[in-house]
Amino acid sequence: MSLFSSSLASEPRKEASNDAIVFENVELSFEDNAVLDRISFHLPHGQTKAIFGVAGSGKSTILKLALGLLKPDSGNIFVLGEDITQLKEDELSHLRSRIGIVFQESALFDSLNVRDNVAFRLLEENKTPAGQIESSVREALSFVELENTMNMLPSELSGGMRRRVAIARAIITKPEVLLYDSPTGGLDPITSTNIVELIVKQRDVYKTSSLLVTHRLQDAFVMATHSFDKASGHMKHLPAGSKTEVPMSFLILKDGKVIFDGDAHELAHSQDAYIKKYLS
């Protein structure tokens, strides 16, 4: 797929639905290697869907497709009602202002300090007054508890701090959809828990629809069994036997195909041998 290709778009098709993201029979191959094979799933508004699979199963590719950074070979992808497979790059740029993404290795701009990284989108749009940008940056950084890092460069931050700055950058415009690519990968358990708490906070306080790619089953199960308590400012385990439903679902990929799409209860009781092995 060409890095510089742009689609020859016709009038984009819109689909009114209750879903933030819909994948319909999406196929993608790199050279002769089929990465995704007729993938279909949907992400309802306000829900977080954790995507699992072994390395190379196409998890991160799904996020890049959802953002329009890659084009599928066939199939349709609807994001916030727009068929992004039909959009041109400049139309996608507009849609991307409603989506935030946290990359696997944070992908902070290493020549910019934390303030300019977090404010990047607002500075580029050039529509927000400087004072408001400053307050938005402070608000986003305080959400991730890193207000004191404003003037630091990414190279001066730890891995966990970089990941949190990346979250702040993703949420500064209060996006309707958030995409997390292995946000806890390579981090220690305490930092991972902090990141998971931030994701739960974003889900429960701001009701943001999210796709979460992760290798760590325990993170997703923590998210499925906890909700954010505004009073204490921390996530709390749901009481045993609680009927409270957490807007959380799971999707498992194998050999480029979806082999499971359901909630935590269905996942825990799945009889599929591969899933049982994966969960163990």
């Binding site: 060409s2 890095l3 510089f4 290709s5 890049k64 953002l67 950074l69 790059e89 400049d90 740029s93 507009h94 991307r96 202002s97 989506i99 993404i101 990359f103 696997q104 290795e105 992908a107 902070l108 701009f109 290493d110 990047f120 989108r121 580029e124 749009e125 050039n126 950058r169």
Partner: protein, 269 residues
Amino acid sequence: MAAEDFLSGVELISPAEFAKQKIKSMQDYILLSAQALANLFRRPLYIADILQQADSIGVGSLSITVLAGTFTGAVLAMNSASTLERFGSLSLIAQLVSVGMVRQLGPVITGLMVAGRNASGMASELGSMVVTEQIDAMRALGTDPLKKLVTPRIVSTTVMLFFLTILSDLFGLLGGSAVATLLLGLDFRQYWTDAWQILAFADVFTGLIQPVFYGFVIASVGCYYGMSTTGGTQGVGRSTTQAVVTSSVLILAVDAFLTRALTLLLGFR
């Protein structure tokens, strides 16, 4: 070492596949260049980025340009001296250095120097951004990387190479004058009068149109290899090398075609 061991890391491809890859690379390069140029007519223009790159590319290349120009002029004078002396025409040295530097050596040597310094810098900087997903992040944040990163580099390199070439020409003449006066005992004033008077419009035009093309070649090639980087840090190294080699060879190739075209256009002596 067994042949299979030697070939274990080598990927063999058919000539047809190789040709297809090269054609695709050329297509991507042309597309990138065209889009970068088209961005000049679309907002935003990123003036601050253009100025920052102009400083980095132009001011940053001053020292190598001055040194390369000075020594090229000096060497040209020294090498020509023995030949001219044989024909009793040592006094023509100023004319020879002047026309040689302004019409050909100044632009080409400056272009090669700037290519070595900046095409590699652009390829490694953009390549690192690609492999660390910073380019994807930029697109995800609604910014066109071609507009923000490639177009300012092309504009800055093209403009700054023009001025660097003028400086290189001047310092080449200075180097030549140092050799002419200090080693060959020629008159300093006479040298500069001869050097100035020999230059015709065609010489100056030829010498100053070249850096515009070379600047574009250096920046577009550097950015192309940077933006096409694959394969992690090893890929960044590969892109850097390819950017320097390709831009240097392209400068010499463009020089050949440009010289021929300008000869036909301006009707050189």
